[in-house]
């Protein structure tokens, strides 16, 4: 367009921008709700295929056929699948997610109790992953032209290939069993007792003023977080490195250099912000992979998070627990996605205009 900016738009540009930004954010947040619903529906449908009759597992082995039929009716299992799903949904909306066949207890409190542990791992994993990834990506870029750059990037490539649970085992074998530097089983030393206040172990230790327990909990969290961090860091380093290289070929960087800006200012003020965009959207895309990673990591390190809970539930066909956990995972992924979307919008003015 030989496009001229409308005078009106210039005058009220800021106002319109702010309005469209919040409208956009709201619309994107609302769009996630039907997605979550469809995820629960898909899970529900898949779980109907489980070759084991849930009623049989609830009833004592000597139950009569009539008793079984009664329970089936009571649970709605004789109704069409879609009706069953709607029944589950109605219960879910009122906070009733059913009863676990492992414990006979309601599922929701069980999951809520396990969730903080997973969130702790996720938080520290993301933090360490970001630090390591950004660090090595920048290092490789600053070392461009020297042998260090291809060296860092090939090591990074090899590390990226190794799946998370193998990292966990490798770290346990070397740092845990081999060097005995760090503990690797359980959330905290067996002898220590910390009352459950917030559910977040580290926070609870601090609230109690128990620094010994805090140290122990932190040490126990180190290897799992490092494992997760390594899996996040490698793709970040790669994308940051390549997008920095790309940004440095852009006209605006050349133009800024021709205005006499020094290399440090170029990197920090002009290149990093642009190169961060693909990196952050990568984190959004990778969110589901990262969160899926906690599943095995918790199991391997013996941490009582929702991943360990999930593996147990899967092993014992605890359908209600699986169903709620699937929803929990989906929500967590959506939250991380929202966070990365928000950051992207803050950094990239183009996204603030409705797509």
């Amino acid at each position: 367009m030989s496009a001229t900016v409308q005078p009106l738009a210039i005058a009220s540009g800021a106002l319109i921008r702010a309005a469209s930004l919040s409208w956009l954010a709201l619309r994107q947040a609302l769009w996630r709700i039907p997605m979550l619903l469809v995820i629960t529906l898909v899970t529900f449908l898949i779980l109907r295929g489980v070759p084991i009759d849930p009623v049989n597992m609830l009833m004592p082995p000597n139950a009569s056929a009539q008793e079984i039929a009664e329970l089936s009716h009571q649970l709605g299992l004789d109704r069409p699948v879609l009706v069953q799903y709607l029944m589950w949904l109605r219960g879910a909306l009122s906070g009733d997610f059913g009863i676990s066949i492992q414990t006979g207890q309601p599922v929701l409190p069980m999951v809520l109790q396990a969730l903080p542990m997973t969130l702790q791992i996720l938080f520290f994993g993301l933090l360490s992953g970001l630090a390591m990834g950004l660090g090595s990506g920048m290092l490789a870029f600053r070392a461009r032209g020297s042998v260090l750059e291809p060296a860092i990037m090939s090591i990074n490539g090899v590390m990226m290939a190794i799946p998370d649970y193998l990292w966990a085992i490798a770290l346990i074998v070397t740092l845990g069993v081999g060097l005995q530097w760090l503990p690797f089983i359980g959330p905290i030393d067996p002898g220590l007792q910390v009352p459950n206040i917030t559910g977040f172990l580290l926070l609870d230790c601090l609230l109690q003023g128990d620094l010994v327990a805090f140290g122990s909990a932190l040490a126990h969290l180190f290897l799992p977080s490092l494992t997760l961090g390594l899996c996040i860091a490698t793709p970040i380093a790669r994308v940051l490195h390549s997008s920095l290289i790309e940004v440095y070929q852009e006209d605006y960087l050349q133009a800024a250099r021709l205005r006499g800006l020094d290399e440090n200012t170029l990197l920090v003020r002009h290149a990093l912000r642009n190169a961060a965009l693909p990196t952050i959207s990568l984190i959004g895309v990778q969110a589901s992979v990262v969160i899926g990673g906690t599943l095995l990591i918790e199991t391997i390190f013996g941490l009582p998070g929702i991943g360990a809970l999930m593996i147990r539930a899967l092993g014992s066909f605890d359908l209600q627990t699986i169903q709620l956990l699937a929803l929990t995972y989906a929500i967590t992924v959506q939250l991380v996605n929202m966070l990365s979307d928000f950051t992207l919008r803050t950094l990239n003015p183009r996204l603030r205009i409705a797509p």
């Binding site: 900016v5 409308q6 210039i10 006209d251 960087l253 021709l258 006499g260 003020r269 912000r273 409705a354």
Partner: protein, 636 residues
Amino acid sequence: MNLSSLAFSPVAEQFLAEPEWLLEADGLSVVGGPAEAPSAVLSDLSFRLAAGRTLGLVGESGAGKSMIGRVLARQLPAGFRVGGGQLRFAGEDLLSLPAERHRQSLGSRIAFIPQEPMGALNPVLTIGRQLIEHLQRLGTPAAACRERAIELLEQVCLPRPATLLGHYPFELSGGMCQRVMIAMAFAGRPQLVVSDEATTALDVSSQAHIVRLLRELQEQYATAVLFVTHDMGLATHACDDVLVLYAGQIMESGPAKSLFRRTLHPYTRALREAIPALEGPLLPLRALAGQMPGVESFAQIKGCRFAGRCEQATQVCHDGVAPLESVGPQHQVRCWNLAAASERQAQPEATAHEPGRAMSAQQSLVAKGLSKTWPGRRQGFRRAPGVAALKPLDLSIAPGEFIGIVGESGSGKSTLARLIMGLERQSTGVISLNGEMLGDSRDDWTRRIASIQMIFQDATAALNPRWRIGRLLTQSMLSQPRLHSERQARAAELAADVGLAASTLKRYPSQLSGGQRQRVNIGRSLCDTPQILVADEIVSGLDVSVQAQVMNLLLELRRQHKISLLLISHDLGVVRYLCSRVLVLHQGELVEQGETERVLAHPQHPYTRALIAAVPSLDPDAQWPPAAFPQMDVTP
């Protein structure tokens, strides 16, 4: 003040230390390729530029004209280096200046105006932040930065500078972005400004404003300007002195006006004769055969690099490089056969040229009330009102008639082309072909593509890179039950028709030059001998000499096959040369139409007048840009 800024005579050597020369190049060369067999992309370049003057570097793509700016910026592309010579800036040796000192002088003493203004501004920072960052680097106190930024934007005639500071580059048009870049360039009152094709990416009407702005600021600050351009007409008016480069060698140099009044070098003259004029008698263009040699073959050329394409070349031209010889006040030419050259100058050929007129009173294609509206964006449950890309217009084409559609980007001219071709569905209106209505049916589509064919804008993008030329040329026969031999025969025929060597049939598009690719593009559209060709900006990306080749080819095809042409172009000269009738589009609306000569001579609509005024005149004595010139690229 020295009257001329150019002096090559040995006598001038003694003035080397004279401070009035701001920029002096002496035997400067830039070489690339392997160290044992370097090839000079810029060889033995000497010039002098004084404060307040503009030196134009004119040449086609590949001439090496951008290299000088890159040497100044120390940003030579990988693999290239300065091979020898001197470059002095304000008495200092620029080539041996310490890196830090050199960086310090960038932006403050030497400023650059880029080719692509939209890309040259950081997309995630506001205009204000980028301006203020630059001002702070220049040492403006932080408190005064905002004031000064507003002042600068006012100086380049941008409306509402205070609000503009809060905008991002993508919210501005190309012309506005270029004004911001100019504001930044002049912020530090530099001694030298390098403008590398600063107007090429802009619409014609912006071009005139940018050039005038540059001139005004230059006068105000007595800045020297290095003006790199491929456009001879523009150079005539925008520059005081001109260097004409060909394949890295200076062919001719001198004061712009006198040089263009009396061009001596065969290349310069060919270049001038290849530019279609907007006024004066319509003469046939003399297209220069062949193309400029590539950098990789420079090393093998012993003599004049133009010799391969020169009509007057003799053995001596191939054996050695001629020296630059003075032929008038500051006017120098590098040619062995100057005598022969001046001789030809005396007797210009004057056969009148005829653009494509209708060859029959019948109309082969008639469109009535044709329009296109893009559906608006969905906003919740509502839809924003649609965007009218093209407002209803009528159009008819007769056999052999060449019609030009003129307008700037966003005027709807490409939309019209796609509607006629049927690549887009019209919102309203009907098209009839040879008296029968064109509908949506499969039969109508078959009829349409048999009679109408399109030549696409970008030949590189329009040719499947994985196919050989032979297959590309006869692409439309792929979906017909034809024998392989038949296709091969047709491919050879088409290649001959569009002037391609038979050997190219086995090649891939990437192995051809831009001009050759455009020929394939044209040849392909001729495969089923259509009645009407729709051509979208098909010469705009080509060098002038190649552009003339392609235009003459189109006229030749018209003589042979009586084809009609619907030519979409922003270049009025091209339209005048080819088309007997012209339609002017502005923001999706047909504002003027009629006989090309009449419209150009007596434009009625102000937009047409502005378009015509924006084209640099080929007459060195004409006043350009005209004094009173409506500002169209910036909304007040």
